[in-house]
Assembly symmetry: C2
Homo-oligomer: 378 residues x 2
């Protein structure tokens, strides 16, 4: 096992109806907040009103930043920083999924920073301080509610990058599975792909056989997400499946499946971020295209690990069969597995972007390697 630091101080409040613990948790953090939400759904579903009722109960006032879109943009971060400063808020309350939470994190850090908040995303500045962050999770996918990572897109440079820092850990994240019941089948599928990708990025970082715990945790998460996603495709209201996926999602990128595996590569995410940045497709849908291709390209390099994956997840005998099985799962749940699904053909442009972004992730990839993977995505 490699050395590591594990630190994750987020307080998770989990359970059906727990949205109503917002009042008691919020008042312990501050008296005035900036609420960050997405485009329509939290207002339409009544979740927003429930949150406001809770804040009113304890006289916490708020200002509102709305219309955060998937693949969240840096412009909304700037707007949020201005609002937070102008209104001297005590904390940021994110009500939504990964895009909303990541925007809230960027605002929280930008609040105390003199320069351009994009600096955090191109490793030009470290995050030293941030406003406290609270989360009401409505989409279980990115795991942002239980980590210190934020991913933001900057269209002016066509980049989608991540930043990380201890001050970005939410103070409290409320995980109420009831709130995720109305998520569409498509987005439920993309979310599951995202969750699985987070643990597999770590799993396939090396063939080291000295991480049986981490491998076992990852296999449990992948098996659970596959099983529960199938159930949700039949009955999206299955609250037990929503619960299991919600908790799997938070744990998947919380650091505990990767502590001890060494520096992991996150190549699938790097490649997918180019797809999102250029074509604005859902992150999970981009991942279901990239993952099988990435696996086929890397199968020979890590054959033993792929065999372990095949055996322990699918009870399959060969590496190839394991890869086919995960691809079949993506197809079964209607997650795209080919670039043609989005009529994407300009591979050169995407490859240029990836080669440009790779060093900020500490990755050194060749043009040939990326092109071979895209070739397999066609």
């Amino acid at each position: 096992m490699n050395g590591f630091i594990f630190y994750n101080p987020v307080k998770i409040v989990f359970g059906n109806g727990k949205i109503n613990s917002l009042a008691s948790d919020a008042i312990q953090i501050g008296k005035k907040c900036l609420i960050v939400i997405g485009q329509k759904s939290v207002k339409k579903s009544g979740i927003f009103d429930k949150c406001i009722n809770n804040l009113n109960k304890v006289s916490v006032s708020y200002v509102l930043l709305e219309n955060i879109q998937p693949n969240p943009r840096i412009e909304k971060v700037y707007e949020g920083i201005e609002m937070a400063k102008k209104n001297s808020v005590d904390f940021i309350l994110a009500i939504g999924g990964g895009s909303v939470i990541d925007t809230a994190k960027a605002i929280a850090a930008g609040f105390y920073y003199e320069g351009d908040a994009w600096d955090f995303y191109i490793m030009r500045s470290e995050i030293k301080k941030a406003l406290p962050i609270m989360v009401i999770l409505t989409v279980a996918a990115t795991g942002s509610e239980m980590n210190s990572i934020s991913v933001i897109q900057n269209d002016s440079v066509r980049q989608k990058n991540s930043a990380q820092g201890y001050p970005l850990f939410p103070k409290v994240s409320i995980l109420d599975p009831e709130l995720t019941k109305t998520l569409s089948k498509d987005y439920t599928a993309y979310a599951s792909v995202d969750i699985i990708s987070h643990v597999l990025e770590g799993y396939f970082t090396s063939e080291d056989e000295n991480t049986p715990l981490q491998d076992g945790f990852t296999e449990s998460i992948v098996k659970t997400v596959i099983q529960e996603t199938y159930k949700l495709m039949l009955n999206p209201l299955n609250i037990e499946s929503r619960s299991n996926i919600m908790w799997a999602s938070s744990l998947a990128l919380s650091g505990f499946t990767t502590a001890g595996i060494g520096r992991f590569k996150f190549e699938n995410h790097l490649i997918e971020h180019a797809l999102s940045a250029y074509y604005d497709i859902p992150h999970g849908a981009g991942l279901s295209i990239v993952i099988p291709a990435w696996m086929k390209e890397n199968r020979e390099k890590m054959k033993r690990k792929f065999e372990k994956f095949a055996k322990n997840i699918f009870n399959s005998k060969t590496a190839d069969e394991g890869i086919l099985r995960i691809e079949s799962f993506f197809k079964d749940i209607n997650a795209p597995t080919s670039l043609s699904h989005y009529k994407i053909t300009n591979i050169k442009e995407l490859t240029d972007n990836i080669i440009e972004c790779a060093p900020t992730r500490g990755l050194n990839l060749t043009r040939d390697y990326i092109e071979r993977i895209f070739e397999r995505c066609k």
Copy 2:
């Protein structure tokens, strides 16, 4: 899944040689500490000197409380509280295993408490504040380095009880596998039994099939500990096995395998604590006696869960075979599986003690039930 709160803010610094990060971590917590250690081994092994060198480097001064024994006694807690107050220390540094850490926690809480620190252990008072705690772990067994639990024995009432509270989470725990290399084979075996017991207490709390993640995590920990303990019995210096067991141990009672399973019972621990309190035997050795008997007694009540355990841990077909396999593992590593090993015959006295302590754990057990389990331990 049941609702839960998950919160674990301990910073874990893991890796060979990490004992030397003590200097930089300690100075961030305070300038003067009370060091708590056990009877001889940390001085003999040179670990104590290494720690002192680290503290000297950053001019952190200390006072020393030594001779904490296994099944740590409340008298040493009182002594430590006096020392901490008299010397106005800023934090407590535990260098040792569970007994030492649990004593450090009791002192940390007692420092701010007007009454008798034993009150925390009989649910007469809540822990509201404690001095910061740092840990250098030398025995991987109890998981105390990554939770907010402390277990202390009070000979005057012949009770061994636990207390819990957020202020008891260590600020930083340094997990340096090299420090555990010299642990004897016997104590290595008892430690492994303890680790396994922590996750199985949760696993066998219910037959609920809606906790696939938690069950999978538990199975990974049990399988890993069994495999790595066998390796250590052949070669106690195998540092990879020590590493895997150390991390398994910290995670096993950190809350993450039990979040969502509901209130869990901890019956094996309740029963074992009576054995320790009366006969001062190693906690893990008491557990290896109790667990197979407890399993045989409960097999029919939770047959499906025992079948799952047998299949997923040992690839065995029946509940009975699973129980036999775990008992064989205990025998293979020389952990006792019968009361006769310690010539214990007075079951009535033990049963009286258990019946008396059960309500403080929220358990309601009948005399018949306890006696039947002891009968199976003979």
